[in-house]
């Protein structure tokens, strides 16, 4: 079963100072290695926090493009992992091991499969 781990971190645009204790690159590399060695990683990337662009197509078909993430939030998605594990408990274990869970939050989402509905 595929789960998406959305790694939420503090948005640099939020106006508040990013708290200390941000995980190091080495910590993320160690997690990357663990998730790869366990054979559960399907995909995973860190995202650029600076240059988000938001697209919104209005009812009249008009395309609205704006700079920045969609909402004025203190948190934004800083990276993701798509993992394939047997059940939610296994996904939650990986999410808890992710360095991002100690700094921001890691949201665990199931991949919607039309057949399951």
């Amino acid at each position: 079963m595929k789960y998406l781990l959305l790694i939420n971190t503090w948005s640099p645009e939020s106006g508040v100072e990013r708290p200390a204790g941000e995980p190091t690159v080495e910590e993320f590399m160690a997690f990357e290695k663990a998730v790869t060695d366990a054979g559960v990683k399907v995909d995973g990337q860190a995202l650029d926090l600076e240059h988000a662009t938001t697209v919104h197509v209005r009812g009249d078909g008009k395309r609205v493009v704006t700079d920045g993430p969609f909402a004025e939030t203190r948190e934004m998605v800083g990276g993701y992992y798509l993992i394939d594990v047997p059940d939610l408990d296994a996904a939650l274990d990986w999410a808890a091991r992710c360095p991002g869970a100690r700094y921001g939050t890691v949201q665990v989402r199931t991949v919607w499969e039309p057949d399951a509905a």
Partner: protein, 420 residues
Amino acid sequence: MSGEGAAGSVEAVFREDRGRLLALLAARFGDLDLAEEVVSDAMETALERWPVDGVPDRPPAWLLTVARRKALDRIRRDRVQAARLAALRVEADRAAEPGFDDIPDERLRLFFTCCHPALPVEARTALMLRFLAGLTTPEVARAFLVPTATMAQRIVRAKRKIRDARIPFRVPGPEELPGRLPGVLRAVYLVFTEGYAASSGDGLMRPGLADEAVRLARILDGLLPGEREVKGLLALLVLTDARRAARVDAAGNQVLLEDQDRTLWDAGLIAEGRRLVVAALTGPGAGPYAVQAAIAALHDEAVSFDDTDWPQIVALYDVLLRIEPSPLVALNRAVAVAMRDGPKAGLVLLDDLSGAAELRRYHLFHAARADLLSRLGRRAEAADAYRAALALTGNEPERATFQRKLTALTGGSREPGRGL
């Protein structure tokens, strides 16, 4: 046997063993909906067959066999589920179908699934009552005083999450258990407290829920006999429940602990609770339920309110405050200190706690302050505190109690009162 008698046996078996049947089928097929449907189907079949064929020797085993066949039929028919059939084939082709008594009890898995931290708290208690206590959705809805449609929606949503997010039917391993068991115990405790002091509505107690909580705690204790906190929880529930008959008078009015007729307390439950407390406290590092049970035992053992061993109760609250600090525990400790050292000492502690927003919103915090103020003769302040308590409770008998006390303070009539 008459048709009516057979129908009665179906219901008796059903109520008693529904949880076990559901747990077995959910564990085997990994699908709570499917388990629920086939258990209902099997019961319908029983209602048709038993009046004609007679009640089988081992009714639960009969129901299980029928339910399993129906589950396999459904999976075969269901194209979406077909892929899972291969994995289940070995299981299905096993020639011997063991009787119910030979099958392991899988209800512990169901407890952990129903109380999974990924589910909202109000869904956990509802799922437990629905699947482990065997209540129907309308019964669960009535117990929590919400419309049936609301409760049905809550349960359906939770079941969908269990299925779609694939919350597993498994007992956490030894390293995870200490993190997960408190959530299960908390859900059982919440069922009890909801039944014991209903947060809204006319009845002070909804005994149905308290009974179900005790039943769930007993099942859990049977499944995890080595877990002392399960014994602690069961002890706390039976020692509290033992006072049920004395908590309400003939007119339906609430009777406070200090005014209760202690001869009405259930000696059998108290004896059972005391045995359990000893087991729960024996060994290093007693848990919070064991300590609370020990406090309840001290109340139950006292021949009168004034004879209560308050120094020991304060000492136990000190322990509780250390292992599970919370404003609520601090409140209870302050009340015990007031009993040990007098209302003034208790009031100092309560006033120190008034910074906690959680307590300022809690009617019993204001009621406790009101009681101490009134014992100190500070009637105007006591009346204000009762008004604050009144504004915060939705429970009718409690409102009546506060109103009575308030009238006594403001109406000029002499409150029998303590202390002064």
